[in-house]
Amino acid sequence: DQQVKQNSPSLSVQEGRISILNCDYTNSMFDYFLWYKKYPAEGPTFLISISSIKDKNEDGRFTVFLNKSAKHLSLHIVPSQPGDSAVYFCAASDISNFGNEKLTFGTGTRLTIIP
């Protein structure tokens, strides 16, 4: 039951260019979305989040866009840097679990920044 999908298992981007990572979801009860970055043998590191009442949230080089009607969100990284090379997970939580923020994760996209 893939409620959160990341259809691109990998992505390669030139350093300095924009990286765009995509995520789709099926559960209309999801109301809070997060992006995590993960290096091998480490835990997921929180990057940025967005509530369903917004369509954009920006934090430095990272911007997350949410299209509720399409059940789609994307993470933009600009400019991309070599240190951004990692696996990026999209995650979502469900309004019906208010106060108990179980996260449903996508399968991840491995981003490689080419110097």
């Binding site: 989040s49 997970f89 939580s93 106060g99 179980k102």
Partner: protein, 121 residues
């Protein structure tokens, strides 16, 4: 910056043995979670814990699993009789208080520990 810590970083055990994975959540957090990631698969929710009781658990979290907050700082996951398929990375996470109301933007994020790699032989 406060962080979630986990011990041990690696654990090798024989099938049928009991293991206890330990976590120290961020000190002022109130919600605690365990997730796992089998090699090559996605991160999966196991259990959430609040106010000294389980809030929710997944299908994976069967009778072989238990969680405990034995003191004010530690949060443990016990697997009573390990199976080969329990081999995975286990991540602890914690988050702060989540207030709410119409239009409230939830800002409380789950912060993850570095994980314990469990290998069952």
């Amino acid at each position: 910056e406060p962080e979630v810590t986990q011990t041990p970083s690696h654990q090798v055990t024989q099938m049928g043995q009991e293991v206890i994975l330990r976590c120290v959540p961020i000190s002022n957090h109130l919600y605690f979670y365990w997730y796992r990631q089998i090699l090559g698969q996605k991160v999966e929710f196991l259990v959430s814990f609040y106010n000294n009781e389980i809030s929710e658990k997944s299908e994976i979290f069967d009778d072989q699993f238990s969680v405990e907050r034995p003191d004010g700082s530690n949060f443990t996951l016990k697997i009573r009789s390990t199976k080969l398929e329990d081999s995975a990375m286990y991540f602890c996470a914690s988050s702060g208080f989540i207030a709410g109301g119409p239009g409230y933007i939830r800002g409380e994020t789950q912060y993850f520990g570095p994980g314990t790699r469990l290998l069952v032989l």
